[in-house]
Symmetry: D2
């Protein structure tokens, strides 16, 4: 699908929104790419975000996958709109082992009020990427009160 930004300041809006999230700082996550209908977020796999076997915690894959899907959805919204996840499903496909995770979110269907978006999360180790999670959920456009 071929999308275009509906707001010239979409990239700045996303970067400011991302920077305002204490959680992204805590997880050492970074927004790498924002294009119309697409967002990429990465985070290193560190002991601070591990589960009991030393792999990355499902909560990390969820947090960056959900954010990538959300910012992909927001990229298609007009000026003044923020985005809220109403529901999200995650499938965990393989252990998240490696040096970092990369989440790539994209829009499936963009509507006036609701957007359906997905994300794929890969574990990176050297030059290899392994798909470790897929997410599918609903985003709602909201205007700040």
């Amino acid at each position: 699908m071929d999308y275009t930004f509906r707001y010239a300041g979409a990239v700045d809006r996303a970067r400011n929104g991302f920077a305002a999230q204490g959680m992204m700082e805590t997880l050492k996550a970074q927004m790498e790419v924002l294009k119309p209908g697409f967002c990429e977020i990465t985070a290193r796999i560190r002991p601070e975000v591990s589960q009991q076997q030393g792999f990355a915690h499902a909560g990390l894959a969820f947090a960056i996958g959900d954010s990538a899907a959300g910012f992909a959805a927001q990229s298609l919204m007009a000026e003044g709109y923020d985005v809220l996840t109403t529901e999200m499903k995650i499938h965990l496909l393989a252990p998240a082992r490696g040096t970092s995770l990369v989440a790539r979110g994209s829009v499936i269907k963009s509507g006036r009020s609701l957007t359906v978006a997905e994300a794929k999360v890969f574990a990176q180790s050297g030059d290899t990427e392994t798909l470790i999670a897929v997410l599918l959920g609903t985003m709602m456009a909201v205007t700040p009160k």
Copy 2:
């Protein structure tokens, strides 16, 4: 439903598994209760786990809700079994504002290999609890290799 532990060391197994998760330490989460088929986990709402409006990030609700559901499922498993989330859905119902979140996970259907479990997450503020998220997902029993 009336469940019983299938392993006398179930509470210690859960506490050890919880303590080995770097993510739970990073989120300052604590396991408060483990009973047969039930688990309660809390976490304070701090700037380090916030989203852009200062409320708790969806990633926090997911992380403690998913863990509460997972440890509820594990509580019914025999000795030597660990638990893995295969998929989980979260609905975000209201802004997570207040002093802390509490997640209560419980088992809906316990099977040999798969368990279906749910969690409800509440925001606490003074004496008030507000339901801010519900989760429903699938857990798989695994033996450590």
Copy 3:
């Protein structure tokens, strides 16, 4: 939770909507109960709605579970509103064997535009009811154009 109808004609609106669905007639489904925030729908298990082992098809559990959740949600909406499922998850917990299925839908969180609702589906055999499916999803209030 304690709900009340927001439209005095809610029961008639639901019965008319139900009767207008060719699919419910094809599945021989019947609306048994509509109360504020709650709906019960039944369907007999017949060869025409079976899967390959002779049990009721997952599509039957979905169709009546989704409808029960939807009409539960609609029961709390003002005059002139219809309801639409935006997304729905179903867990299939046990084979759907017996004489009939009964789906009980109820509202978890009722909002202006979106409602989160769930349904439990039981297989009935003599005096016994077995939980065979749970559903959790999102309903949107729409005005007919």
Copy 4:
């Protein structure tokens, strides 16, 4: 991804399983394609499978989407294995209007016991196809008892 059948009789197994489902006959659904990791199922939009506005019922999109995902998953299983949906999520994206629905199911991750599969459902009208639903769920390999 590049898959191959693990059982030479995979196509016949699928066609026999499909033919044994009374529900598929009731919905006038047809299996059009079975390839390794992929299945296509169609059904005409008829008054017998309508919702209250005359479009195809969500239950039809679910039934053929779930079946397409399930037979895609089964296509990669060894001799003697049948497939069971353990959970499935459907997003309804647009009204299902037109002459027929086509569901295309494909495998995302094939595992020993669990397979994650998705389906896209399109409404066909003349030469046009409109995406009306996406499904994402879990299939379990089972041996008949």
